[in-house]
Symmetry: C2
Subunit: 322 residues, 2 copies
């Protein structure tokens, strides 16, 4: 592609309207803001209304129910919706199948009926490969998930690619690492960076599963959003891209960095390791770097501080909070 | 493993009872007969009653509804059930998800509740890899299916492996090539060998999609059944096995062989190629050969003649049949 300068988001103003399915969630809110601020008409499709304070003054249209009408006029659909998460997926197998694969079929069907040209689906870099993969893990590694969420995400990816083959809807699967940053609600139990940081700010103990040696690939949501925008203008043949930071951080390292930022020790409730956690998840980002000229630009300490500042301004952080 | 002599089915008499979910279908009937004839108590779980004439005098218990009670006392469950097939799966995506993934979750849940030790799941060697795979295709090739059936089979495989990790039920996925042979009803539209052979016997035209250059890996059902029995006694670390003939046959070659066997030309209704058909599907069977000491023993011309003889004795083959 004729990429924008590295780190500069692609100019998408020629696209006309775009839709964000899951536009009131963590990644969805950040994406809606970026898209709307760049001058695009944006429809957020989500049962919840996107919080105005997350949009920084930008205007986003809202549709509560996914349908061809809700996507009408959109050339691109960003699919970041999902109601399930890795650990609980191993208990609620059928719900995960419906909430991940079934929902993706809904998005594809409505997109096809609405004449959408491109779909960008956020998949899961942290769960699709499984514990036996080489690290950093390239897109060509075998997919051997150890949680139902990863199994369902692979099936959802397959349906996105099938829709391109059968119906000509260009479809991209972005295997995003562990995103963190503003507007990921740390009280919902998803996203270890935000959850631990918020607990530390509230001077509440964190819940640590395993010995802290688990390694994850933490990526600021602004970098995720940039990759999602960049891929829309890609005209090459790849359809699956790892989106990661390029580096691993242990959970013990995360805790140390949080202690340093917050300025006090973190109290820890220790629990046994969990089946759904792979020991090490770090993505190889050579492909996205080469094909999209994308690279993460938010460094770890800036990103963590930025997230802390958002929490302090937007969430209750008194010691009484839970 | 301490394998039986090549081609000799493993002795399973120490297993106690075994169950075959889908025991009234094509592979299920052949498997039930083999298991029962070897002296094992066998339960066929299937809405249909297994046809007595397919069991050659052997006795098989029948349960119409899958449940922990239906599987009670079984140490091994063979899962060969499925209500969907590749071509139509691309039209009925949700039905395929329910009929393949959902059904596998039902089998795993009932097996876990019944205390089953081992599950042998028949997956799809012809659809999970996709058109870009190297041929012959090893188990380590990327899975890029071009039909919903293949997508669902990969998810079902994942759940079989997850059940082993989470619940200790040993689970094997056999990626079986294109099986043919007695008790595959050629009037149901599945299985090109049986369908074409039956049409030829009835002197009816066959439906050919594409130019006949498509290559498939045809395997007699007796060899499939042997592999299913052999894997139960395997004590190594592999969990996915290709089960194929080791050779490819073009559709044009199949038609020529049928003409030679039947002794007259086959009439052909030509149709355009189908999206769900990969150009060439031939499985690499090195892993199963090495780990299980299994190899196909029914040669192609014997297998085709055997299938014809079964059709002549069991199905109406007058020219008036459809």
């Amino acid at each position: 592609m004729a990429a924008a300068s590295r780190g500069q988001p692609a100019d998408l103003t020629a696209l006309g309207r775009v839709s964000v399915v899951g536009g009131a969630g963590f990644i969805g809110l950040n994406l809606c803001r970026r898209l709307a601020q760049s001058g695009l008409p944006v429809t957020a499709v989500d049962p919840q209304v996107p919080r105005p304070e997350a949009l920084d003054g930008a205007t986003v249209d809202h549709q509560a129910v996914l349908s061809p009408d809700a996507l009408a006029g959109s050339s691109v659909v960003f699919h970041v919706a999902g109601s399930t998460e890795p650990v609980s997926s191993n208990v609620h197998l059928r719900e995960d199948m419906a909430g991940t694969v079934g929902l993706t079929l809904d998005v594809l069907e409505a997109s096809r009926a609405a004449g959408v040209k491109t779909i960008v689906h956020v998949s899961s870099g942290g769960t699709v490969y499984g514990p036996d993969a080489v690290t950093p893990t390239p897109e060509t590694a075998p997919t051997r998930p150890v949680c139902a969420y990863g199994i369902s995400k692979i099936a959802a990816e397959g349906h996105v690619q099938l829709a391109e083959r059968l119906h000509g809807i260009r479809g991209f699967n972005l295997r995003v690492a562990n995103p963190y940053g503003p507007w990921q609600d740390p009280r919902r139990g998803q996203g270890v960076v935000n959850a631990f940081l918020y607990r530390a700010l509230c001077d509440e103990p964190i819940d640590l599963w395993g010995d802290g040696e688990i390694v994850r690939d933490f990526l600021h949501v602004e970098d995720v959003v940039t990759a999602m925008c960049d891929v829309v203008r890609y005209d090459g043949n790849e359809r699956i891209f790892n989106i990661g930071s390029g580096a691993g951080t242990s959970i013990a390292g995360l805790i140390a960095d949080i202690e340093s930022l917050v300025g006090r020790p973190v109290r820890i409730n220790r629990h046994p390791g969990r089946d759904a956690d792979v020991p090490c998840s770090v993505l190889d980002i050579d492909r996205v770097s080469r094909e999209l000229d994308w690279a993460p630009i938010v460094n770890w300490s800036d990103g963590l501080a930025d997230t802390m500042n958002w929490m302090k301004s937007s969430l209750p952080t008194g010691a009484e909070s839970t």
